[in-house]
Amino acid sequence: MLSCVGSALFAATANAQSAVIPDNPQLVTSYVRPQSPFSPFVPIYNGLMKRHVLEDLKQFFGPLRLPRTLVVQVSECGGATTKTYKPGGPVTICYELVDQIGKAAAEMAPNDQGQQDQIVNGAFVQAMLVELSHAIFDLLQVPIWGRESDAADRLAAFIMLQFGEDTAKTAIFNSAQLFLHSALTPDRIWTGTDFAKATSPEAQRMYEYMCIAVGGDEPSFGWVYNYMPKFRAGSCAEDYAKIEGAFNLRIMPYMDPNLLVQVRARRWLQ
């Protein structure tokens, strides 16, 4: 799991004409060392650092012009798997989450390390993009209608679809699988006041990602229709068009178009 997280998000494949994509100067990244040398997260910390995950992130988001510096860190989170982004604060991906993803992947594909790696790749990308989406909404003062957690999911799904079918399939399909796995866990059944949470149930998130995916890339994700009720499937193209329109209006103006082309020309998640 450690090696594949390293090869996860941003291990770009060099190609014959790969240009050097500059780091985003406004992204300051940090691998926060676990407090105890005996922490179970030390291997995760080492693995992420070794594979330069955050350095690649700075290139991936190179085209995005932010109005001020944003700290992105991977860190221990005191047992929590997420650390809510707060305006002015850092984006944090928790080692606990990476660990949880790895364990879930092992349960989902116990005899298939390759498949485990794919699941971890996809889920890690998804988590990173969601957390960064919250920061983007804040820094760019993006007006959000609907719940912000869902908005972050939808933006993350949209971004995943912009880098070719391989990236999309790895990120979205494996994220969806992980959501489904979580939803099927007996102790994750939502009842009563669970529905008061500001975040959505895993099953709902799964359908959200699948709908955006098939709405944006039906040739790659047409199989989704077999697992989605017709009353929802019929709206997915429109769903995708809405998030695309929202992105183009409120976020695209902050993108350097030339750098964006270069980032899209790279093969990520290989």
Binding site: P143, L155, K197, C211, K230
Partner: protein
């Protein structure tokens, strides 16, 4: 049939007190109009399509001039494209019992299905009975008419939210159905306090009574039959995973979202929702931020299209009959 018509008419009368200029209401200013919001008449029906089954509802709506008054209520919004309002039993998505008002983006209309509200009396009666028998201890009291009326208004404003997003090209990053609920909540809490409570409670009690997805996981993942013309709804909503496939949130998600926006807008007016334990404290803690987010979104994306002078005129009209708000 007669009993059905009468009970439906009662619902509509109660619901439409929101919009009716009763003898106790202030005069609606004559210049409260908007040429881009029209009552869509066909074959001289004045916007109220013919119906036999719901004739009582139609008659009442016409008498109360619901479509005309709703167009006046919306007058402050400077739509760049024409929005049409009408009511029917069987046009478009108004099909069969249980149909509810909807906005159709392809044709830019809000169709107020007559059959909406057929189930409302039973639901409202159930809630009122539960409140009376203390099965909902501490929950705020609401009258049958308040619940019915508030829900009807909330649904209309939800559909108008869709119209606003579409006609004003509002960027919506979240789920649009949640966003439309949010719009309804936001507009409601900017009307006077009594109206706001009626809308919030009507909407919230409706969803409270609507139940939640099944909790037992399925044995297999939901699969759609491509050869079936069925929309899969029946099969899906009995499946603990597929029940979350709808583009709408679940009943209780929608309920809590509404309560949260309300509480975040005005703690004093809605503190009882938290004190009763209806809105959990964990969620309540974030409601100020949720309201501020909706407020920012409205100011950025909708307010530029709003004629503030006309808003003040709308707010000066006593749209509700006060006795309906007790």
């Amino acid at each position: 049939m007669n009993r059905y018509r009468v009970s439906t008419a009662i619902i509509v009368v109660g619901a439409l007190a929101l919009l009716a200029a009763s003898r106790l209401s202030a005069q609606i200013p004559a210049d409260l109009s908007n040429s881009k919001i029209i009552v869509y008449s066909a074959e001289g029906d004045g916007g109220y399509r013919q119906t036999q089954k719901y004739a009582g509802v139609r008659d009442t709506m016409m008498k109360l001039r619901v479509l005309e008054k709703y167009s006046q209520f919306l007058a402050p919004v400077r739509f760049p494209y024409t929005l049409r309002l009408f009511a029917s039993e069987d046009v478009g998505d108004c099909k069969g019992d249980g149909s509810s008002p909807y906005y159709a983006s392809g044709v830019r209309w809000i169709n107020m299905c007559y059959q909406f509200g057929a189930d409302l009396p039973a639901m409202a009666d159930d809630i009122v009975q539960r409140l009376a028998s203390n099965r909902l201890p501490g929950f705020p009291r609401a009258s049958r008419e308040q619940i019915i009326m508030g829900l009807y208004a909330a649904v209309l404003m939800h559909e108008t939210g869709h119209a606003i997003f579409d006609l004003l090209s509002v960027p919506v990053f979240g789920r649009e159905e949640d966003a439309a609920d949010e719009m309804a909540a936001y507009v409601a809490v900017h009307l006077n306090k009594d109206v706001a409570r009626a809308v919030v409670l009507g909407f919230a009690y409706y969803w409270y009574g609507s139940g939640n997805p099944p909790t037992r996981p399925p044995k297999s993942i939901f699969k759609s039959d491509p050869n079936s013309k069925d929309e899969d709804a029946g099969k899906c909503f009995s499946d603990a995973i597929c029940a979350f496939a709808d583009m709408h949130g679940t009943s209780w998600q929608r309920m809590y979202n509404m309560l949260c926006i309300a509480y975040g807008s005005d703690h004093a007016a809605f503190q009882d929702l938290v004190d009763a334990g209806w809105l959990p404290k964990d969620r309540a803690a974030g409601c100020d931020d949720e309201y501020k987010r909706a407020d920012f979104a409205f100011r950025q994306t909708v307010l530029p299209f709003v004629d503030v002078d006309l808003v003040n005129k709308v707010r000066s009209v006593q749209w509700f009959n006060p006795s309906d708000l007790k």
